[in-house]
């Protein structure tokens, strides 16, 4: 009898992270990148959703809750639930808070344009929030902490110069699945982690309804495509539906413009972005 040792079953790459290490790295990042440029404070928009809740937890730990201003920015159609969930975070952390109704700002434009479609209205709301956050950052002598995660940055599920506008982006390299994992470890209220993610732009809207797939599903695919450098055929061989794979790849590619600064037309020997290269942290 030959004793056969069978091959170890190849495990599907997974997205789990060491949450203690992630927390240390991200808290250190916020502290370093805010304080080294002479600031002590952070401001962020607190929607009641998981991404901004986690960002608020990280910022509060990095800078102290008294140095974090969580701004609630409801529109007239925003849900009471979102408002209440934001309050849970504020109460738990003891961060500073302020509420600014963006309705007059957004509607100031929306009401002038009779046929503005829902997407344009949503973008106007998102950019209205950006205006408020940057204004508050000046009053609070703070930098704006971004709340976008890796999944939405890759999918382009954000508004250019709206929710994507920020000084630093602590959770931009965490997939939504990982945001959930880290949120759980940091004590974000379960009710926020477990609810369906929504941009809260109209009643009943959910991210996953709009996108047409779940975050859990797309995160596993994005992880293979981006982090593990799988080609589309390898993803399909790993069990993903071919149409889904191609749809996601096309979406990621189509939204590249949202992930880079606008290209500058090169004329001189030395052009910003091409051959004039310094980090943001230059001299600090």
């Amino acid at each position: 009898m030959v004793n056969i040792i069978e091959p170890v079953k190849q495990e599907f790459p997974h997205l789990h992270i060491d949450t203690r290490l992630a927390r240390d790295i991200l808290v250190g990042f916020i502290k370093s990148e805010i304080e080294r440029v002479g600031f002590k404070h952070a401001v962020l928009g607190l929607s009641g959703g998981i991404d901004s809740a986690l960002s608020c937890f990280l910022a509060a730990e990095a800078l102290g809750p008294e140095n974090v201003l969580a701004v609630r920015l409801p529109y007239r159609l925003s849900s009471q639930e979102s408002y209440d969930h934001a309050q849970l975070v504020i109460d738990q952390l003891g961060v500073q808070t302020r509420t600014i109704d963006i309705t007059p700002i957004a509607d100031g434009l929306i009401n002038q344009i009779p046929d503005m479609n829902r997407m344009r209205q949503a973008n106007s709301m998102s950019r209205s929030r950006m205006i408020c956050l940057y204004d508050q950052s000046a009053e609070f002598n703070a930098l704006v902490v971004g709340t976008c995660n890796k999944t939405e940055i890759l999918l382009g599920y954000s508004t250019l110069y709206g929710d994507s506008a920020c000084a630093i982006s602590p959770i931009g390299d965490l997939y939504k699945t990982q945001v959930r994992e880290l949120s759980r470890a940091m004590g974000v209220p379960d009710i926020i982690i477990d609810k369906a993610p929504t941009a809260d732009l109209w009643a009943g809207q959910t991210d996953e309804g709009e996108l047409g797939f779940t975050y859990a599903e797309v995160d596993r695919l994005l992880y293979l495509l981006i982090d593990e450098r799988y080609c589309p055929e390898e993803c399909i061989a790993a069990g993903f539906d071919a149409a889904f794979v191609h749809q996601v790849i096309a979406r990621v590619q189509r939204n590249q413009f949202k992930r880079i600064l606008p290209p500058i037309a090169k004329i001189s020997h030395r052009t910003i972005g091409y051959d004039y290269l310094y980090l943001r942290d230059w001299g600090t």
Partner: protein, 289 residues
């Protein structure tokens, strides 16, 4: 013979040479207080790491030392110092270099040979690569220096070993990448694994100083470490926070380990040389391999 090594796990200011010098002097004083024989600073410790277009403006020609450079050399009258800087040669090429200063003199400079220019790295765009790997003599024995990507390749540590180095001093500014769920950033685990491997394969001491802190979105994972000729870990520091990490190297361990395990004695350098020549010349395998 005991050698007390201090690894300066520091953060640096990007392009802030004067501030970085102050930190060097502070850590050198602390290392002297701890009765250390040598203090090892990370890669580009005088300048910061992602220099890009700052590189030419912080460069030093060792023949025409700046004030910061001279102060470090002067400080080496009390303790041996390995530090990192941007070196400009006489024909104005820029290198990522580490200097070893002892008794008020620079006794060796290593220019980084392997410049990572892939993934997040872009060193080959801004720097020239060194073309020499050489061990050198100190008061306590023959040693060698390598910088980060140099020891991600197997040949530089191997060459230093053959050239007589019994202690490998490794300097890094290594950004962490690859977070999984097993307790350590993948880069850190990888470097621990290969350094332990070098200590084991070359029956030598390995001392590694890596920086901490952030530059833009990059974080540097520290983890200063030292390994003995048996491949055992002498010390491994935490991954965050500035520290002066002290390790005692019992140099007599070289005798004991190599008496048990004569890998150095038995290494067939001639075979390696012949084989490399054959591979380089693209010759067909001969009867001796």
């Amino acid at each position: 013979m005991q050698l007390r090594v201090a690894m300066a796990q520091i953060n640096t200011k990007l392009g802030g040479v004067v501030d970085n010098l102050d930190k060097h002097l502070e850590y050198i004083d602390a290392a002297i207080d701890q009765k250390s024989d040598v203090v090892v600073f990370p890669e580009l410790s005088l300048t910061g790491y992602v220099l890009q277009d700052l590189a030419p403006t912080v460069a030093v020609q060792p023949q025409k030392p700046t004030s910061s450079f001279s102060q470090l050399i002067t400080a080496s009258q009390s303790i041996d110092i390995m530090f990192g800087f941007v070196e400009e040669d006489q024909r104005n090429r820029f290198f990522i270099s580490s200097a070893y200063a002892s008794k008020g003199k620079i006794i060796h400079i290593h220019r980084k040979v392997y410049l990572p220019t892939y993934g997040l790295f872009d060193e080959g765009r801004f720097f020239a690569s060194g073309d020499t790997i050489r061990a050198f003599d100190t008061a306590y024995g023959r040693v060698g220096m390598l910088i980060c990507e140099d020891f991600w390749h197997a040949s530089p540590p191997y060459l230093l070993w053959l050239d007589g180095a019994d202690v490998l001093f490794l300097a890094s500014a290594s950004p962490g990448r690859g977070l999984t769920d097993d307790g350590e950033i993948e880069t850190s685990r990888w470097v621990d694994r290969i350094n332990k491997g070098y200590a084991s394969l070359f029956t030598s001491f390995v001392v590694h100083a890596n920086r901490v802190g952030y530059e833009d979105g990059l974080h540097f994972w520290g983890g200063a470490s030292a390994y003995d000729p048996n491949g055992n870990t002498i010390v491994r520091a935490p991954s965050t926070g500035e520290s002066l990490v002290i390790a005692d190297l019992d140099l007599n361990q070289l005798h004991r380990t190599r008496a048990r395990l004569p890998l150095l004695r038995d290494e067939r350098i001639g075979l390696v040389e012949r084989t490399l020549r054959r591979i380089t010349n693209n010759e067909k395998p001969g009867k001796d391999g």
